[in-house]
Symmetry: C2
Subunit: 218 residues, 2 copies
DNA sequence: CCCTTTGTGTTGCATATGCAACGGTAGTTT
DNA sequence: AAACTACCGTTGCATATGCAACACAAAGGG
């Protein structure tokens, strides 16, 4: 499973563990399962006692709405993890379904084994817990930021909030955005053509300038 | 400071520590500061090396928006904490400002002392870390849920998503909501009268029934 | 070279929404 | 009883938005 080790080294949860990686996996007792394309990995309502680490394949996280409307929350690729929030929070029934978009293999790490320092008091446990904390905290911040964008009532406000956040992040009023128009519209949860319209208007009014993915605040 | 101890017992971060609470505080070396009404507790751009625990008074968390627009993110009362996400994520510059709405006292706990099990290997450290994990994870889930609501494009969809989430939570199609109309409109980030209009329409169409804060899905 | 696909801007139109204003009800104060 | 306030529903109106359709350019495959 050399290929798996390569993937595992990229997992953020294992940052800084490096040479002890194999020892740690032994200690944590991870369980690897494989799934066929379309197979369900985790069903809504089931408990979430473990963090899932994607070793191969593509995986979708889906939420079923009360009237059966499915919405895709995220799509995950190898070295990404899922279920860390539910497992850490100790929720008894998963509100989401996870399914294999392609053939996939997933390693499950019991949250109890992660949280509780093991009897051998392995040195990497502290690192592991710190990583988990950091992952949850960062996701928290990302979600808060997105929340702030979505709280705006008009597309114009959403766009300007987004762009100024990016400018602040890059420390420059001119910057590239990592989204196509389609993706930006999806991200801001607005209609693509309406977004296009607003962008044009903002440029006409001299508030922003843009060509392709390069934007500039004025 | 008997009064403080009472407050500290209600802090979720200290759940399950109970009789060891005072010993733990000794070990963590918390620092208490007092603030006058209107005084700044944490300024945007400053580092966040500690978690703040509110001992007395009311505190506001504020974000300054791209052109100086202030928006209040939360208002906190005694036994609540702030900064846990930023401290855990290790952000160098706080994106928010925290200020005292009334005279207030706050205890700061260095995140390093929380995360790293102390030399004496106090028994409560694991509990403390587990609590912090759980707090971050739960906030994560709350933020995700709110995100889902705000992702909806129309007020009708937002309302129905919110109501069905509540119904699911209570396990019953009839339930009370914890918000006034004003508060619900704020929560969903929409205009109050527009919300009222949509609720009326939904009732007329026989999709929901409501009187005051009691709602029923049909 | 033609055709398809993809990404983007534009526009017409019906509808949803924000905003301001008004009215009504219930509870509280004077 | 009168006055005041808080909360909520209703409505008119200007505007923003979603949606569908179309045009155009660039890229790639046959």
């Amino acid at each position: 499973m050399d290929k798996n080790i390569e993937v595992l080294r990229k997992v953020k949860l294992f940052d800084g563990i490096d040479e002890n990686l194999e020892a740690m996996l032994q200690c944590l007792g991870g369980e690897v399962k494989t799934y066929d394309r379309g197979e369900i990995i985790l069903l809504t309502g089931q408990p979430v006692p473990a963090v899932g680490v994607i070793l191969s394949g593509e995986v979708q996280v889906i939420q079923e709405d009360y009237y059966g409307n499915r919405s895709i929350l995220t799509e995950l690729s190898p070295s990404h993890i899922f279920g860390e929030a539910f497992a850490s929070a100790g929720v008894k029934e998963s509100p989401v379904t996870v399914l294999a978009k392609t053939n996939a293999s997933v390693m499950f790490l019991g949250i109890e084994r992660i949280i509780n320092t093991c009897p051998n008091s392995c040195i990497f446990h502290n690192q592991l817990i710190e990583n988990l904390l950091k992952i949850l905290a960062r996701k928290n911040i990302l979600l808060s930021n997105k929340n702030q964008l979505l709280s705006r009532r008009t597309i114009q406000d959403k766009v300007l909030s987004y762009l100024s956040l990016q400018a602040e992040k890059k420390g420059n009023l001119a910057f590239e955005i990592p989204f196509s128009r389609n993706e930006l519209a999806d991200f801001l949860c607005v209609d693509r053509s309406a977004l296009s319209r607003v962008l044009s208007k903002l440029q006409k009014e001299g508030i922003i300038e843009y060509t392709n993915n390069h934007f500039k605040l004025l």
